[in-house]
């Protein structure tokens, strides 16, 4: 099985747009070492790669769909309360395209 190296972690962090310190990287390498060992244990079970990933613990299909009825929206001041910077009823942020 693939070992998780510092390089892989650094690349993943870059893709997710955050930086990791050397100490954090060392820590994560150690943690992944344990996780990978546990995974190897599961890998020993025959036919495990043919199993679909499970999202729901049991068959639980429903037939409920919401009726298409609109309700009153939340007041704008309320909905924007957590935003740091609001201009003309819109959230302002640093320009996101070049």
């Amino acid at each position: 099985m693939k070992t998780i190296t510092k390089e892989i972690l650094r690349e993943a962090a870059t893709k997710l747009m955050f930086k990791l310190t050397e100490e954090e990287l060392d820590q994560l390498v150690k943690e992944f070492d344990i996780i990978v060992k546990q995974m190897e244990l599961i890998g020993e079970i025959p036919g495990v790669d043919e199993v679909e990933p499970m999202t729901f613990p049991f068959e639980c299909a429903v037939n409920y769909l919401r009726e298409d009825v609109a309700t009153k929206p939340v007041d704008r001041d309320e909905i924007l309360k957590n935003a740091k910077d609001v201009v003309d009823g819109q959230i302002r942020l640093p320009k996101v395209v070049g």
Binding site: L16, M17, P53, T55, F56, C60, A61, V62, N63, Y64, L65, R66, E67, D68, V69, A70, T71, K72, P73, V74, R76, I79, L80, V87, D88, G89, Q90, I91, R92, L93, P94, K95, V96, V97
Partner: protein, 474 residues
């Protein structure tokens, strides 16, 4: 070298439901920013998505119109990416089990029918709208969560014209099914083009270029035509095509580079755990299809059976509103051909002159129908009908009222006309003899006299008919 273009389209259609895809937040267009938002759309912690029944019905109807097989289990996935237009940090979509699969639609190019395969149709939610200024961006969440359907064609189109025809057909389908207003210029129908070239006669696909956000049928065609020539030149000179995303620049009528595609983004799709799989019953799916509004092609058949020709029918069907208006007028029981003539002629020229759409047209369908029936019943002449129509444009009233107001009532009572005629004939025996001797103009004199007696209200065609009949009796 001779090249062949390989074109596939991805179309996003914004639905005009009352509420959003996964929340009961209202859907409406063109209102103040962030006033149509609820806690689910804003991704506040602990909120849960619940799929919209009408959105599912709409997706079934469009899938059916595109001859697709419909999945009876609805499952959603999360598409994870980090961007400011996405409040949750993921978009709920249907990556692995699209509701519609494997269909087609038929376009007509140069008089020939061509089937274009459609790979998939799935439901998802729209993102928030970003307004980019020179040094900041503004976020309006009204659009966040509006139901979308995405329709992905197979790469089976070969020219800009075919692509434009395909989009036009999709637009007709979604608007006639009442799923969307289908307005490209307002973003309720958005189109991305994938295009590559290959040497004619070969099978292998070339490197594809994506053209984003084309906002009109004409621009789709122009962008593709430009891209075909751009790629041909590069290939002819031995260059190679970069895999990249471009956009169409309306000013220069050229496609311009947006970004070069490096590694494909990994969206880490996984099943949306907050929505349990939904089983659609056979009755539900069949019911959605059975109650589906009538498509343009079915209306065409109906119009033909009403006796309209292809040309008139296609004009009426060029947009749903005109076709709806025709159907409403037709309920009056007036002659369909005459209705079509009025709508295509007088109504349309009024709309054009005033730069308005038929939606804004003030004359009630039943009033126009009534007017046409008055003409049919010979109660008013065509000329008088046009005059009444002019009045109706100013104030929309029952045409019968205008007939009285304008004094247009024609005397069509045979008894009344006959008594006038016999009185006249009794008084002019010599003219009867003249007529029988071949002096046709005598007839004109008689008609003139009758008109005088009735103050011009005698129905002209009925009058001449009765007059000749009575003269011959003598």
């Amino acid at each position: 070298m001779e090249f062949e273009a390989v074109i596939g389209l991805e179309i996003h259609v914004e639905m005009k439901t009352n509420s959003k895809m996964f929340s009961s937040g209202p859907v409406s267009f063109g209102i103040d920013p962030n006033t149509e938002v609820n806690i689910v759309d804003m991704a506040f912690p602990g909120t849960m998505p619940v799929p919209n029944k009408q959105a599912v019905i709409n997706a079934i109807r469009v899938s059916n119109a595109l001859h697709m097989s419909i999945d009876d289990t609805v499952i959603f996935e999360r598409k994870n990416y980090f961007y400011s237009d996405l409040p949750k940090g993921y978009q709920i979509t249907q990556q692995f089990r699209p509701i519609g699969r494997e269909g087609y639609l038929t376009i007509n190019v140069n008089g020939e029918d061509k089937k274009i395969g459609i790979e998939r149709l799935h439901m998802e939610e729209d993102t928030c709208k970003q307004l980019h200024s020179w040094d900041f961006s503004l976020l309006d969440y009204n659009r966040a969560g509006i139901p979308l359907i995405e329709i992905v064609s197979k790469p089976e189109m070969r020219s800009g014209e075919e692509a434009a025809k395909y989009v036009e057909k999709i637009r007709s389908i979604v608007s006639f099914l009442d799923v969307s207003d289908g307005k490209m210029e307002e973003g309720s129908l958005r189109c991305d083009v994938n295009i590559s070239l290959r040497e004619k006669g070969t099978e292998k696909f070339g490197t594809k270029v994506e053209i984003k956000n084309l906002n009109s049928l004409a621009n789709i065609q122009k962008a593709i035509e430009f891209e075909i020539s751009r790629q041909s030149i590069i290939l002819d000179f031995g260059g190679h095509i970069e895999q990249e995303t471009r956009r169409f620049d309306e000013g220069s009528k050229e496609t311009v580079l947006m970004r070069v595609k490096t590694d494909a983004v990994d969206y880490k799709y996984f099943t949306e755990p907050n929505i349990a799989p939904i089983k659609l019953s056979k009755e539900f799916i069949e019911g959605a299809i059975k109650t589906s509004p009538e498509l343009a092609e079915h209306r065409l058949e109906r119009y033909k059976s009403l006796g309209l020709n292809d040309y008139d029918s296609s004009l009426l069907l060029s947009n749903k509103e005109t076709s709806d208006y025709f159907d409403e007028v037709n309920k009056s029981g007036a002659n369909p051909k005459l209705i079509a003539n009025w709508i295509i002629g007088d109504v349309q020229s009024y709309l054009n002159k005033n730069g308005i759409s038929i939606k804004e047209f003030k004359v009630a369908p039943k009033h126009l129908g009534g007017l046409i029936k008055l003409v049919e019943a010979n109660k008013v002449s065509n000329k008088q009908a046009r005059e009444i129509f002019e009045h109706m444009l100013v104030e929309d009233k029952d045409p019968e009222l205008y007939v009285k107001e304008l004094g247009f009532v024609q005397v069509s009572d045979e008894g009344e006309l006959l008594s006038i005629i016999s009185e006249l004939l009794d008084a002019n025996p010599n003219l009867i003899a003249d007529y029988k001797a071949g002096k046709d103009r005598v007839l004109g004199f008689f008609v003139g006299q009758i008109m005088k007696k009735t103050q011009g209200k005698a129905n002209p065609s009925l009058t001449s008919k009765l007059l000749v009949q009575e003269i011959m009796k003598r």
